[in-house]
């Protein structure tokens, strides 16, 4: 039996306003009396040991990692970034550093220190490097350099490989004349269309490194140093990606009133115009004319981001009176719930108009979900059209592919299987680990 939809899931447009205790500002789940796992952050889980990945990638792959590591055993690495918690880089380092250590690579992780004025400048740089408007001032340059110098004086750089993540600490490379290390700049952001002033300023430091690493070919720049391609990756053992039992998936669906007896089309993304959630609703409505289905929009960020709240409002208006559209504005720690909802889905959509790499696509492919996604950012690296998913360029194209996959479940299942293998080969934490070992071997002379 399908459980009744909890109050918080009902479309506000269909509710009796008089019955509401407060204005509905979103579909964010509200407390309904019973205790739910998503109401508070879960206790932190220690990162997995390397051996735990064997069940996923196989013994032979782990053996190869051990052989690669043996060649660079005893080498030391320092990772430097600007935050210890929150954000994709910190999440990646939390997993990567212990795995490298387990392989005998002594890896230190330092976080630079700065005050509000420094982070205001670096946030502006970050946005400008990703194409935003910005007028670089002398004062901003001086603030950036002053904090980098202060951190440089407080740190030591004696490891074999120094890896500086992102623009914030990029000027630490000025310490390299006193350091025997090899220096690498790992850029996690999209530099395909940077603000020229900010890029020119940053480039003088980037050119001093031994190599740079980018997340996509299109993010690379003309530089006199080697540029490597490290795709972002997902951890198959994380809360968001680890295998779940069907009863675990069902429990989450029951909590959120998701009906698994009918096809579910899902987009997981924060409420951001670049993710085009309204376009997803339009595509869904076109597809549903021909194939029965329901739409699940799983997002977050609408409560602490004014723009997110505005986008959520637009999404609610576009959803109007449609009982087949479920909108969930979840707290950021709901990785288990997102995992379950992705696994409960018949297919995943990612109809972004602008995208970084698109890790939600990686997550969907890993879960063997047939995926329909826009050909933007790093998505074409993941979706090979009609082989590992379907690439689209418009609302109509998205609708057409949703229909097609719902009507051809065997083909959809094959896409899902191919997508899973693609992630296994190219976008898993273990692949990232292999890349770091190779880089260490190549740059420190043991290749």
């Amino acid at each position: 039996m399908t459980p009744a939809k909890p109050e918080f899931l009902k479309n506000p447009a269909t509710q009796d306003p008089a019955a509401r205790k407060e204005p509905v500002i979103s579909h964010r789940p509200q407390k309904t009396g019973a205790s739910h796992s998503w109401e508070k952050p879960p206790a932190p889980v220690p990162p997995p040991h390397l051996q735990e990945y064997e069940a996923i990638v196989g013994k032979a792959m782990l053996d190869e990692l051990h052989v690669l590591a043996r060649e660079v055993k005893g080498k030391t690495v320092k990772m430097v970034n600007s935050t210890a918690v929150g954000g994709g880089v910190a999440e990646m380092l939390i997993r990567l550093v212990p795995l490298l250590a387990e392989l005998g690579i002594d890896t230190h992780w330092d976080v630079i220190k700065g005050e509000a004025d420094f982070f205001a400048v670096t946030k502006s740089f970050h946005n400008a490097l990703q194409g935003g408007d910005y007028k670089l001032t002398r004062e901003a340059e001086e603030t950036f350099l002053a904090y980098n110098d202060r951190n440089r004086r407080a740190m030591s750089f004696t490891e074999d490989l120094i890896v500086i993540h992102d623009p914030q600490p990029a000027a630490l490379v000025r310490a390299r004349s006193e350091s025997p290390s090899r220096w690498v700049w790992r850029c996690h952001i999209d530099l395909s269309n940077p603000n020229p002033q900010v890029w020119e300023f940053l480039k003088q430091f980037v050119e001093q490194y031994d190599a740079a690493i980018f997340s996509s070919q299109s993010f690379s720049r003309q530089l006199p140093i080697p540029q490597y391609l490290f795709y972002p990756c997902i951890d198959p053992l994380s809360e968001k990606n680890k295998p779940l039992t069907d009863s675990e998936v069902q429990k989450v669906c029951d909590e959120f009133g998701v009906d698994r007896s009918r096809p579910i089309v899902t987009q997981v993304s924060r409420f951001d115009r670049a993710k085009d959630p309204v376009g997803v609703i339009q595509a869904f409505k076109l597809a549903r004319k021909h194939e029965d289905c329901q739409l699940l929009l799983v997002g977050g960020g609408a409560t602490d981001d004014p723009e997110g709240a505005a986008v959520l409002k637009e999404v609610q208006e576009a959803a109007a009176n449609d009982p087949d559209i479920i909108i969930l504005d979840l707290p950021p720690w709901c990785n288990h719930e997102v995992n379950a909802l992705q696994r409960a889905s018949t297919m995943i959509v990612q109809k972004s108009t602008k995208e970084g790499f698109g890790l939600t696509v990686t997550e969907a492919l890993w879960k063997e979900k047939p995926t329909v996604a826009s050909a933007v950012g790093g998505i074409p690296n993941q979706i090979i059209d009609k082989m590992t998913g379907m690439l689209v360029h418009s609302v109509e194209g998205c609708a057409s592919q949703i229909r097609y996959l719902l009507a051809h479940p065997d083909f959809a299942a094959q896409l899902g299987k191919n997508g899973h293998e693609h992630v296994k080969e190219n976008f898993l934490m273990t692949t990232d680990l292999r890349r770091w070992l190779l880089l260490l071997r190549i740059l420190t002379g043991n290749s």
Partner: protein, 230 residues
Amino acid sequence: MTATAEVAGLRTQTKAFYFNSSAHLLRITAFKADTLNEFLADLKACPEDSIFQHTFRTLQEHHFIREGFSNDFAQWILTDCNQPALAEQLASVDVRDFTSIRDLREQFVELVGEHLESYPADADQPARKTFYFCASDIVVIPTKFVARTLAEFAHGLKSVSIHSIHHHFIEARLRLQLLSNDFSEWLRQGLGLEDAAHAINQIDIYSVTLEDVRRQIILILEREGRESRS
């Protein structure tokens, strides 16, 4: 019955077969193309590593695809240049027909050049997305598997990673400078198993996955084991 059991007891080869694997680190080169004209110029000028990456190596990155994927050049020309006829021609280039990257490059240059001579208006049509020529830094990784008998060979085949299969079965012809592969050469030269060596070399890598390749080789070894005993 397992392949190991099937082929057990066959003659011993004095020269051991060492199963290796390889790992690659992708480099982004300075060559990139937004039109077919630029693509042709880059095809001629890019490092040999790039030709290797987008033909031989990409088969490993996409080892799970059974049909429709041949090389990165054909894929870009199909999806981003919307030139299906040229894409079909490039996709039909079989890396197994080449023992040198120079010859392989010439084949691609010839096909694209002929197309642009026939359809000059296509030359400067902007592609939907830029093609970035990449290359790889390669490290050969030894494995613990060594075979002196057919049984050990089958066991090794079943145990190594898919990267090892690619290393010995696909990349090998550039190393050997032969239209063959490491597996077939070992079976032929050491054990005189000409038929098995030939059958393995005939496996179509473009219509099966690399796991399928592994399974087919093991089936051939099982058959060889049965025939040798009968």
